[in-house]
Amino acid sequence: MMESLIGLGQGFGIALSFGNLLWCLLGVALGTAVGVLPGLGPTATISLLLPITFRLDATSSLIMLSGIYYGAMYGGSITSILVKIPGEASSIVTCIDGHEMARRGRAGPALGISAFGSFIAGVVATLGVALAGPAVADVALAFGPAEYTALVVLGLVLVTQIGEGPRIRALLMAALGLWGSTVGLDPIEGTTRFTFGVLELQDGLDIAVLAMGLFGVAEVLTLAAAKEGSTQMVDSPRGLRALLPDRADWRASSGPIARGSVLGFALGLLPGGGALISSFASYVMERRLAKDPSRFGQGAIEGVAGPETANNAAAQASFVPLLSLGIPSNVVMGVMIGALMIQGIAPGPMLATERPELFWGVIASMLIGNLMLLVLNVPLLPVFVALLRVPQRILAPLILLFCVVGAYSLQNSAFDVMMVAIFGVVGFLLRLVRLDPAPFMLAFVLGELLEKSIRQSLLIGLGSPMILVEKPISAALFALAALVLCWPALRWIQIRIMGGRRTT
């Protein structure tokens, strides 16, 4: 513990140098901008900026690149709340209550609690990384294919608990999302599936294209179809007081922020969909804990505070497997390993002892970067909210323009533009039949990991599915999934028994 505190102190000395402060500021500012713009995600931005880092020292380059990553995590929530376009997959859940809050003239508190929650989560998770990171990093090593299968199954069960409407429709959308994730090359044998001879589909459907179509374009179509003389996309508050979370908001959000920080940190340690699973696990947990769960989906601030906190904590925690074990927990971390290797550094268990200035400098910079995000974004709240005053007839074409060009910028391909348009129309049609696209998207993201894990497990178990429940972690996760799935039935039985006792 003492050693970690000394290391953190040394890290602050490095991170607070003028040059590193500047790189950190550049990273978080770029990250926020990238998160706001649909299409251009942190992976593409970090890859584009890699050549710039050749001229920097390893610590400065990693400080800037990590700033882009957690800046994008926050930036993604801005568009989720304002225009219902998730900048990142982990911001999909924020669309549900965040955008509903914006509709009801509470965009400021939604953005504010997202900024403060992300800051608190960032601080908690960074301290967690510093104090317990190397020790808990081994948790990631305990996860094999069977454990991942169980984790993703739990995640999928949680997905079906999100959103309003009949559960059977959420389950239908999740199943379709799983099927959609199999389009393209099979992850084990490389067999081409469901591409119908279209070359562009070999890499599968792009998550950003799906998000822009199913959420962005579909939202514009929904508003156009439902419009009855309205001039604004959503209500927009005026006055600074209305823009910040009030005492009641803070009271409602303090629990979700605390729980989201811990949950996000724990799930962020796991390679794979940690940040994504943490955001909707937090949402489901808060809805279950709420006195009035019916408020969720109608603009409950807890539905923004919990998931936003959790995804930011997970983003910070994902640095633990990277720095302590050299394991990239997601694609962005994979690119960061590339950045380190370019500098001749191999991340792993020896990094903290061999290059303490890099290890602790990056960790300290995360604390500073989170403070920068808060200082940058809270004063900008009036600017973000002012966007809502732009009349719908002007904002709607702008959203379409961003979706079209954002899709094109992914691979400079007109095919992606066409897919965005098609998925936009599909997304609108799905809303007409009350089929929520959120479970589809979340299952789509988890689908590849689930397929790979199931198939690897069955390979290891020589075809026996018993391998999935033989290990204690996977058995516990499957049991938890079953409990979540059966919870409504258990509650019903409990109410019946209690009701029966009262009447007798």
Binding site: R104, L172, L178, T222, L223, A224, V234, G299, A421
Partner: protein, 161 residues
């Protein structure tokens, strides 16, 4: 937006069931396609196993959703509202699809200008002049942001490079 409520565009019971019937057919199609790949081979799962499981689950859920829709009595939108929804959807969706289809051929500026002008003129009922002005400014801003600042090589199409 009235009281900030979410726009209600859900279909009435009859159309809801019909749409879910269509979804059921699509899931059956997905299942048939999935069964076209090997499910198992050489003591290991084949490429068809996971999609088959997913499509099978989707078929079951679609059946359940269709069943509950047929049993439920619901009337979210009247016939007139449905006609309005479909009319506006056709205008918007048609323009968006044409924009996407002509993006590479006509280029970013020409396809975008045409689509945005049509959206505002036909979809929003604005005059020709404001429609053209807003489309022009939007395209110019988009070009500045994406091509000049972010270096995205947008297609030029019919316009000279």
């Amino acid at each position: 937006m009235e009281d900030g409520a979410a726009p209600e565009v859900a279909l009435s019971g009859r159309w809801d069931a019909a749409a879910l019937g269509l979804v059921l057919l699509l899931t059956i199609g997905a299942l048939v396609l999935s069964l076209g790949y090997p499910l198992w081979g050489d003591f290991q799962p084949g490429p068809g196993l996971f999609p088959t499981l997913a499509a099978g689950l989707a078929v079951l859920c679609a059946l359940g959703a269709l069943g509950s829709a047929l049993l439920a009595e619901r009337g979210a939108a009247t016939g007139r509202e449905e006609a309005r929804v479909w009319r506006r959807l056709l205008v918007y969706a048609g323009i968006v699809l044409i924009w996407a289809a002509s993006f590479a051929t006509l280029g970013f500026a020409a396809s975008g200008a045409i689509a945005l002008t049509l959206l505002m003129r036909v979809g929003e009922g604005m005059g020709w002049l404001p429609s053209l002005a807003i489309a022009g400014v939007t395209i110019a801003l988009g070009w500045l942001l994406f091509e000049v600042l972010l270096g995205v090589p947008l297609p030029h199409g019919v316009l000279p490079t």
